[in-house]
């Protein structure tokens, strides 16, 4: 009893830390990124000093996307903050295809601001977006990401993910052993905070479809169990604590169920559907082999999972109502941890590519496999909610670090590691409020 109590004390919830502040160290973009100018934003503020460099946030987002080449501030012939002052000739002569201008206006004597911006097509001399939104000091960064999302979508036709979040696990060597932390940050690495930490391993984080909760596996007390934790409050509840394996949670598209892997006392991992409210479980697979890593199709009709029933691990698919599974992957000796793109067209997995474990993506209609990463131990692919980018973990200098790659393989981002071993990144859904 006392032992359990001290163990509870070891698990701290909501501790702020910094995992990787200088996030991006390298971007490989498309061969001809669109030239764009993000003019420094104006500040009509009462209290001295700008609360946030808005244009730097927007510029960073667009640069990291790999699809844009933001112009250096020194090369700008003019720096308007209002659309009316934009001289199109000054921009088109420099080859700039789009210009963003804007300003931050502080309301009198309070923590209330208005962020406004305009996007122009310099060749057609036309305003594409004019938008203003309220912000406080706390929400200003999110407001800047929202502006970047709108600009990105207008110019590429792809929904932006700059306002989304990423969860990941870190393991840090400390004098008295390893410390495992589950961290949530903005997708650019800013605003990171630890939602749970433990001396025992934490693994397999999974977002709820409304972005408000994370399910994860914890080995507190040297046995596995699955928790669901609400991000805002830090409250968590245990949803599975059976003998043997409790693993691989994945929320259903409606958020009411979890796919989980249970091993039982005899250690035969199979996939179950857990109803979160009633805690009732329904078994989906019954094979003697390892069946694990269940993933929902976005329409909720199918479950994709890893099974080594044919010898090595391959991806299979079974109807959510049961029945006999069908094999999905045939290329290579090792295909595991399937993840469906949110648009349902593609399947990402860990694939053994001539001895190296790499991230591969399969078009579910054409069935062709494209290897996207180039490491030796790449793992845990997770799609951004726009289905256009994946984040995954790789190894650099012995430590786990994160990388992103566009689904066509053309754009890559390497992220710097701030501390320890980073693994199991999972991209949040689009935020819903």
């Amino acid at each position: 009893m006392l032992k359990n109590f001290t163990r509870l004390l070891i698990i701290l919830i909501f501790v702020t830390t910094t995992a990787f502040a200088e996030l991006v160290i390298d971007v490989q973009g498309v061969s001809q990124p669109t030239p764009i100018a993000i003019v420094p934003f104006g500040f009509e503020v009462i209290s001295p000093g700008a609360p946030l460099d808005i244009s730097a946030v927007i510029k960073g987002d667009l640069l990291r996307s790999g699809r844009f080449a933001p112009m250096a501030e020194n090369d700008m012939l003019q720096k308007p903050t209002d659309g009316a002052d934009v001289d199109f000739a000054d921009w088109s002569v420099l080859g700039v295809e789009a210009v963003v201008v804007g300003k931050l206006i502080q309301q009198r004597g309070s923590d209330a601001y208005t962020l406004q911006f305009q996007l122009f097509d310099t060749f057609r001399r036309k305003q594409l977006i004019g938008f203003r939104m309220p912000a406080t000091r706390a929400t200003m960064r999110a407001a800047a990401h929202r502006a970047a999302d709108m600009i990105y979508e207008k110019l590429t036709g792809i929904k932006g993910v700059f306002g989304t979040k990423v969860a990941y696990v870190t393991a840090e060597q400390q004098p008295d052993g390893r410390l495992y932390s589950l961290i949530v940050s903005d997708q650019d690495g800013e605003n990171d905070y630890t939602i749970v930490e433990s001396k025992d391993p934490i693994m397999s984080p999974a977002w709820s479809p409304d972005s408000r909760q994370l399910a994860y596996v914890s080995f507190e007390g040297s046995k596995s169990s699955i928790f669901v934790q609400t991000l805002r409050s830090g409250n968590r509840f245990q949803v599975s604590n059976k003998p043997g394996i409790n693993g691989a949670p994945a929320f259903s598209p409606d958020g009411r169920k979890l796919l989980i892997t249970l091993g039982g006392i005899n250690g035969n991992p199979d996939i179950y559907v857990l109803d979160i409210a009633s805690r009732q479980t329904k078994r989906l697979t019954t094979h003697r082999a390892i069946d694990t890593e269940g993933a929902w199709s976005p329409d909720g009709r199918y479950i994709y999972f890893t099974s080594d029933r044919s010898g090595g691990p391959q991806v299979y698919r079974v109807s959510v109502s049961g029945g006999s599974p069908e094999r999905v992957t045939f290329e290579g000796s090792y295909n595991a941890r399937p993840r469906l793109s949110p648009d349902g067209t593609r399947l990402a997995m860990v694939h053994n590519d001539r001895g190296n474990f790499r991230i591969a993506i399969m078009n579910l209609e054409r069935k062709d496999l494209l290897v996207l990463s180039s490491g030796q131990q790449d793992e845990s692919p997770s799609f951004a909610p726009n289905s256009d980018i994946l984040i995954y973990a790789t190894r650099r200098g012995g430590d786990g670090v994160l990388e992103t790659v566009s689904a066509d393989g053309l754009i890559r981002q390497k992220m710097a590691s701030g501390r320890g071993d980073i693994r199991e990144p999972v991209w949040s859904p689009f935020e819903r409020f």
Binding site: R178, P201, M203, S204, F219, S222, K223, S224, P243, G244, I245, G247, A248, T261, G263, I265, N266, G267, P269, I290, T292, E293, T306, D308, P313, Y334, A336, R337, V350, N352, F357, Q376, Q377, E379, S380, R395, G398, R423, E424
Partner: protein
């Protein structure tokens, strides 16, 4: 590995003193091991006497000692959960320890190397823990004394990415919890 064998025999001998009437299966032909080892004098001396002076004992301490002397880690080949022949004696020693002391419990911790997918590796680690569990149960250990947990690749025994690191990480650990 011969260290394990010697230690196993040493523990067997200690157990013989405690319960001399209970037949204890010898995993190896006795003479060769006794005669050949430096510890042979000590172990064969007690064993040959049959009736020692008696001693106070503490089961928990003995469990710890058995744990320590027997060795508590066994290793596996790549993509395999088959217990190697050389580890059978070690497991037999634990099986005897557990079947004769029903109050003792063990946690079998299965591990995998870091290659591949994490949750799949949890499955591989569990297979290793279960392989050890089956051997203990066949040798008379009650299922209720055994708990298994797989840490997959989450708790590597050796950091680093060489083949020998991986070999150190593909393992099962036997931990006495009571």
């Amino acid at each position: 590995m011969s260290y394990y064998k010697m230690s196993a025999i040493a523990v067997l001998s200690v157990l013989l003193v405690g319960c001399s009437s209970t037949p204890v299966p010898d995993p190896e032909p006795t003479d060769t091991t006794y005669g050949g080892s430096n510890d042979g004098a000590y172990t064969s001396g007690i064993g040959g006497d049959g009736m020692g002076d008696g001693e106070y004992f503490d089961e928990a301490a003995e469990a710890d000692e058995a744990d320590e002397m027997l060795g508590s880690v066994i290793y596996f080949d790549f993509d395999s959960s088959a217990v190697r022949a050389e580890d059978q004696d070690l497991l037999s020693g634990h099986a005897i320890q557990l079947s004769q002391n029903s109050l003792h419990n063990v946690r079998l911790e299965g591990h995998a190397d870091e290659r591949g997918s994490r949750e799949y590796n949890i499955g591989l680690g569990e297979r290793r823990a279960q392989a050890v569990r089956q051997i203990l149960m066949i040798q008379g250990v009650n299922a209720s004394q055994i708990q298994t947990v797989s840490f997959g690749e989450e708790r590597p025994g050796s950091m680093g990415g060489s083949d020998s690191d991986y070999a150190q990480n593909r393992r099962a650990e036997i931990k006495y919890t009571n």
